[in-house]
């Protein structure tokens, strides 16, 4: 047997052991544990504001820390900052081009005023120092385009979701991948941390959302329904984490009970001008 073969066997054995260890921890499931919990009931949401101004598809948006300002980015090349409450535009800018990455940039999140983390179609993520424009750390390991990232509340780590159907937890300080989560069968388009920083959710083209826990090192819950055919483009949690909001390719936004795995509400985006509902939670 060649050395490579031996190594492969060793890796396979380790994978089996890890699988067994995870099974040993599965003394219950989240659904079983929450069976007796009161359901959240029907969550009815209404459109409160419509912000008009972009000329083409809006690909991303993000809330400011005051829960009123938000920024949106569109294919028309413009960034607009809105006071969402009054619907007034505060600022309008042409997108600044940072040409440091050779493939497309799928997601970016500020770590603080001086640093930003990006995910890219070249399968890597990167940490940048904004002032010098230099790449401080590179996070490699995914074998598919990285589509989204979410920063842990303690700012020491982040999770990325990619087209290789894996979600990975990275240590910001040393650039190492700490954990890798399997379960999805197609591209992961969106990821979001649970507010306690110990779990996160993913949304994928396989029409399911999943909840993964860092300490259990595995999937806790699957959010899906036979009648849900389309992939998920964005996910977000409510303040308590009890509600999981997911935006789908069919213009629906489904509200899930995070703990019980049931659907709590469906909201249809009637207008066709918004193709993807990005993570839209007030802090």
């Amino acid at each position: 047997m060649s050395e490579l073969e031996q190594l492969r066997q060793e890796a396979e054995q380790l994978r089996h052991q890890i699988r067994d260890a995870r099974k040993a921890c599965s003394d219950s499931t989240l659904s079983q544990m929450t069976a007796g919990l009161d359901s959240v009931g029907r969550i009815q949401m209404r459109t409160r504001r419509t912000l008009r101004g972009h000329l083409a598809k809006i690909y991303a948006m993000h809330w400011g820390t005051d829960s009123r300002l938000l920024v949106s980015a569109s294919q028309d090349g413009k960034l607009i900052i809105w006071d969402s409450y009054t619907t007034n535009k505060v600022m309008r800018r042409s997108s600044v081009v940072f040409s440091f990455i050779l493939r497309y940039l799928s997601c970016c999140r500020f770590l603080d005023d001086g640093q930003i983390i990006t995910s890219s179609g070249d399968t890597t993520c990167a940490l940048w120092d904004i002032e010098t424009g230099q790449q401080t750390t590179s996070f490699t390991g995914h074998t598919g385009d990285v589509m989204s990232l979410t920063v842990c509340p303690d700012s020491k780590a982040f999770v990325s979701g990619a087209c290789d159907a894996l979600a990975k937890l990275w240590d910001i300080r040393d650039g190492m991948c700490r954990q890798s989560f399997t379960g999805h069968v197609s591209d992961i388009n969106a990821v979001c941390f649970f507010p306690n920083g110990n779990a996160f959710t993913t949304g994928s083209d396989d029409a399911t959302c999943r909840l993964f826990d860092l300490r259990a090192d595995q999937e806790l819950m699957l959010y899906s329904h036979d009648n849900i055919i389309c992939g998920i483009t964005s996910v977000a949690f409510s303040k308590s984490g009890r509600l999981l909001l997911a935006g789908y390719d069919d213009f629906n936004c489904n509200v899930w009970d995070t703990l019980k795995g049931e659907r709590a509400g469906i909201n249809t985006c009637i207008s066709f001008t918004l193709k993807s509902i990005s993570a839209l939670f007030q802090k």
């Binding site: 995870r22 040993a24 499931t29 002032e131 010098t132 300490r215 009890r242 007030q282």
Partner: protein
């Protein structure tokens, strides 16, 4: 139309290995479509007599909606219409008298799309095909084939664009018309409508969503990019030059020895990790959501009201004010993290630590947090300042570190970086969390705020000396007894 002869080659049996993001959705839809068309369990497809002619092979919108509700266990007709419209938008069913592909819950007639035209065949029809199609429509003298306004505009545009090869296109269109004429009248009606529905998907009515538009980021990964795009009408376009295709540089990875060795290293660290039991994890999630329920505007009504429902922005004004409401003070008691997250909570905690003469811990922690955010150029200087203030011999705000952490930190400072102080910081954090923070939670200052007995800017002096006194009497005093003491003093 070259359709029938190509049927065998291009029917939409999806390749299980195909990784196009939409394939999963197509497979699900095709499953539903197959069931819908089932002879016994499906919808009633019939020929309807109309006016002077017959309309072959149709089913009403309401029949489809009813079937969906029954067979997909849907209670709300709105949901059934939503799924039905999705299936229509992708082109699997279509209204025979409308270009707009949605499902209506009424007597509107719908037809099923031919598998040849299914989206799962990965059609990317060229404009030459579209031009041939529109051209041939104008050649046939039938009212049902008249061009809509937008189609006439499209045709005009294509005529200009393809001016030089219009003769070729015209000939192809004529050839198609000839083939069509040979077909049975009823069959032609059906095929014509299916062909039109195909183009409604790929060249939609202005204002409709183009469902064939893929996420721009995923377009690169279309299977077999070097494949010659097949023509709907079997036209081999030799004037179309094959542009060089950029083959993606990431090939299927042939694992090298290093890759596998790296993986083994990674797997070993995974194995070493302590895995928490699911039941415990579930419990922590449940208690977290329970604790924060009252802070979740979707599940509890904010106090005094939700600014998004009604016009009252008091809630936000309260958040921004220097006087924290009770709910906010309560949060500081949930965890040290929460206290530190809120600037007001941080201030209160700092004041408390000052009263205990251990404020250097928090000051150090804050300084290190700040260091981590500084621009790279400022880091070395700032690191030195932190060392001087907190760690150097004779430092004004000396923190108490064990010798091991102290050594590590001074080593780190030989090459100062953002994370040089992090190990020491973690140590200090743990100290505050296990020692000072619980006392803060029990402190009079905090308890008073919590029970809204006093405002934040009170005279701390009296409390402080009393606390020192009670502490010196022994740590076994409980809050109750402390309160009792206070009342008597």
């Amino acid at each position: 139309m070259a359709q029938t002869s190509q049927d065998q080659g291009a029917v939409g049996i999806t390749d299980p290995d195909d990784d196009s993001p939409n394939m999963i959705a197509y497979r699900k839809i095709e499953e539903i479509i197959t069931r819908l068309q089932d002879e016994t369990e499906g919808v009633p497809v019939r020929t309807v007599k109309s006016f002077l002619s017959k309309i072959p092979s149709v089913v009403t919108g309401s029949d489809i909606v009813q079937w969906l509700m029954k067979n997909l266990n849907i209670e709300d007709p709105v949901e059934a219409i939503h799924i039905g419209s999705l299936i229509a938008a992708q082109g699997y069913i279509f209204p025979i008298s409308d270009h707009v592909l949605t499902l209506k819950d009424d007597g509107t007639f719908y037809r099923f799309q031919a598998p040849y035209f299914w989206p799962s065949n990965c059609w990317e029809p060229e404009n030459t095909d579209y031009a041939i199609y529109l051209c041939k429509r104008t050649m046939q003298n039938k009212t049902r084939l008249e061009l809509a306004d937008y189609e006439a505009e499209n045709l005009a545009r294509l005529q200009r664009a393809f001016a030089r090869k219009w003769e070729f296109i015209f000939m192809q269109a004529e050839a198609q018309v000839k083939i069509d004429r040979k077909k049975d009248k009823t069959e032609r009606k059906i095929l014509d409508s299916q062909e039109r529905a195909f183009w409604d998907v790929h060249r939609p009515v202005p204002g409709c969503v183009n469902t064939t538009e893929m996420d721009i980021r995923k377009c690169r990964r279309l299977k077999n990019p070097a494949r010659v795009k097949k023509s709907v009408y079997g036209v081999v376009d030799d004037t179309h030059t094959q542009s060089p295709v950029h083959t993606p540089s990431q090939q299927i990875n042939k694992d090298s020895k290093e890759d596998v060795e790296k993986e083994i290293l990674f797997l070993n660290t995974q194995l070493d990790r302590h895995c928490m039991k699911m039941s415990k994890v579930a419990e922590t999630l449940m208690s977290y959501t329970d604790q924060y329920l009252e802070y979740d505007p979707f599940l509890s009504v904010p106090d005094p009201s939700n600014p998004w429902i009604g016009d009252d922005v008091t809630f936000w004004e309260q958040e921004a004010s220097k006087e924290p409401c009770q709910q906010r003070v309560k949060k500081w008691g949930f965890s040290l993290d929460e206290a530190l997250k809120d600037p007001l909570g941080r201030d209160q905690f700092l004041k408390f630590l000052e009263s205990e003469f251990s404020s250097e811990n928090l000051l150090y922690w804050l300084a290190v947090q700040d260091l981590k955010c500084r621009p790279l150029q400022e880091v070395p200087a700032r690191a030195q300042e932190i060392w001087q203030e907190f760690l150097a011999e004779g430092a004004p705000n000396a923190i108490n570190l064990d010798s091991h952490s102290y050594e590590r930190t001074s080593q780190n400072l030989k090459d100062p970086g953002r994370y040089s102080f992090e190990d020491a910081q973690d140590h200090i954090y743990k100290l505050m969390k296990s020692d000072s923070y619980p006392r803060f939670q029990r402190s009079n200052a905090y308890q008073d705020l919590l029970l809204a007995r006093k405002k934040p800017e009170t005279d701390q002096g009296r409390r402080t000396s009393l606390e020192k006194f009670t502490r010196s009497m022994g740590k076994s005093l409980t809050t109750k007894r402390l309160t009792g003491l206070m009342q008597s003093s």
